[in-house]
């Protein structure tokens, strides 16, 4: 018949000449330590994968946060708004300055959102900015307004 060891939960490892002898107090403390180890082990076993998956979810959804401006330099929407006002007033020099600032802001935003968004969306927005700039250089008001409207939609959709 199978024997059990001092803990009563295992089959006996037979033929051991020098089994470790422990006092009841020492046995209790080692049991508590074992329980703590088991709890820590379980936390690591389940907690670490959950934490990793949550990190991945955060990284993949980072475009939502990444496109929010941290200051005036990377505020694409603000510069596009100012460009729209300048185009409406047919102040082309001012419009070009705002468009270039929008481009710079966009270049600051791209590295923050590139992990999660489509490559096509980034290319489309970059091309749209280039078309807007050319339209402003040609003083083409309808073309500028069309591109500005498109840019507004692209911006709303990116990283959604």
């Amino acid at each position: 018949m199978a024997k059990t060891n001092s803990r009563g939960n295992n089959k006996q490892f037979k033929g051991l000449k020098n089994p470790k002898r422990t006092s009841p107090k020492h046995h209790r403390s080692s049991q508590t330590w074992n329980n703590i180890q088991v709890i820590i082990g379980r936390l690591l076993l389940y907690g670490v994968p959950v934490l990793i998956l949550l990190c991945f979810v955060a990284v993949l959804n980072s475009p939502r946060l990444g496109k929010q401006p941290k200051g005036r330099d990377d505020d694409v929407l603000l510069h596009l708004q100012l460009a729209r006002e300048s185009v409406a007033a047919e102040d082309w020099n001012r419009a070009l300055v705002h468009i270039e600032e929008a481009e710079k802001a966009w270049n600051l935003v791209v590295p923050r959102i590139q992990i999660g968004v489509q490559r096509g969306d980034i290319i489309e927005l970059t091309l749209s900015l280039a078309r807007l700039k050319t339209s402003a250089q040609c003083m083409d008001k309808p073309g500028c307004l069309r591109e500005l409207a498109q840019l507004s939609v692209y911006w709303d959709e990116i990283g959604k």
Partner: protein, 252 residues
């Protein structure tokens, strides 16, 4: 856009996600899977690959899609485990293909299992003579289980009324030169005892030991890094050499 950087980050995400998801789905081996489970595994892997290199699709929907597939597969596993009728419907049922020593041709036809497949599976199980088989069952995972006729079944200690000792799992006490204290505690032993055992075998330091394990009979198996074998036999001998030796042996 730095495509290499994006692909690298996405690869890390999909690699570890796949690792975690497959661990959630359990330890089934390829041979234990049904065809559907196999297809699910391929689909999940395919989504992970797409998440890595398909930069024309947003990463989040792909990750979410992969998670949904894993959740569905997990739910299906639970359903199959809890409800027998669901298990019957989803996994199918085992089919008896040899009954009382007779091959069930209709059962083979229904399961689209060829006689040659059956013979091959039997040979893999060490059965080369059909007349030895009493029952053969085609399991839901596609493997064959065989019950030999009683006169062909191997003799066990129980048949001979021979008493046997309990045989459990052995515990590794040293692995790669490092003492595993948790396992020592589990068998109510300590480092002092282990060092004593090592010294008896002429080992001064645990770092000399590759693996040491204790079986349930109290025998300590020790394998050192230094094996002191002058020329270990090599199974990867050139085939041509083997052939020439065989030819030489078969010369009249």
């Amino acid at each position: 856009m730095n495509e290499v950087l994006v692909v690298s980050v996405r690869a890390i995400i999909s690699f570890f996600s796949l690792l975690i998801f497959t661990r959630i789905l359990g330890k089934q081996q390829l041979s234990q899977m049904t065809f559907f489970e196999y297809a699910v595994g391929i689909t999940i892997g395919s989504i992970a690959a797409s998440l890595t290199i398909d930069l024309d699709t947003r990463a989040w929907p792909q990750f979410f899609g992969m998670a949904i597939w894993v959740i569905l597969a997990f739910v299906l596993q639970i359903v199959v485990m809890k409800w027998r009728w669901a298990s019957k419907y989803i996994d199918g049922e085992p089919t008896v293909v040899i009954m009382n020593g007779k091959i069930m041709e209709d059962a083979l036809r229904k399961t689209r299992y060829r006689l040659s497949d059956l013979m091959e599976e039997l040979r893999l199980l060490g059965v080369f003579d059909l007349s030895q088989v009493e029952f053969a069952v085609l399991e839901t995972r596609g493997r064959i289980s065989v019950l030999l006729k009683s006169q062909h079944q191997p003799v066990t200690p129980k048949d001979m009324n021979i008493p046997t000792d309990y045989q459990g799992l052995s515990k590794e006490l040293i692995y790669d030169g490092i003492i595993i204290d948790a396992n020592l505690r589990h068998v109510n032993l300590d480092r002092k005892w282990l060092m004593g055992q090592l010294r008896k075998q002429g080992i001064r330091d645990p770092s000399e030991v590759f693996v040491a394990s204790l079986d349930t009979s109290g025998n300590l198996y020790i394998d050192k890094y230094e094996d002191h074998i002058a020329s270990p036999s090599d199974l990867s001998e050139p085939i041509s050499l083997n052939l020439s030796m065989t030819d030489r042996n078969h010369k009249p």
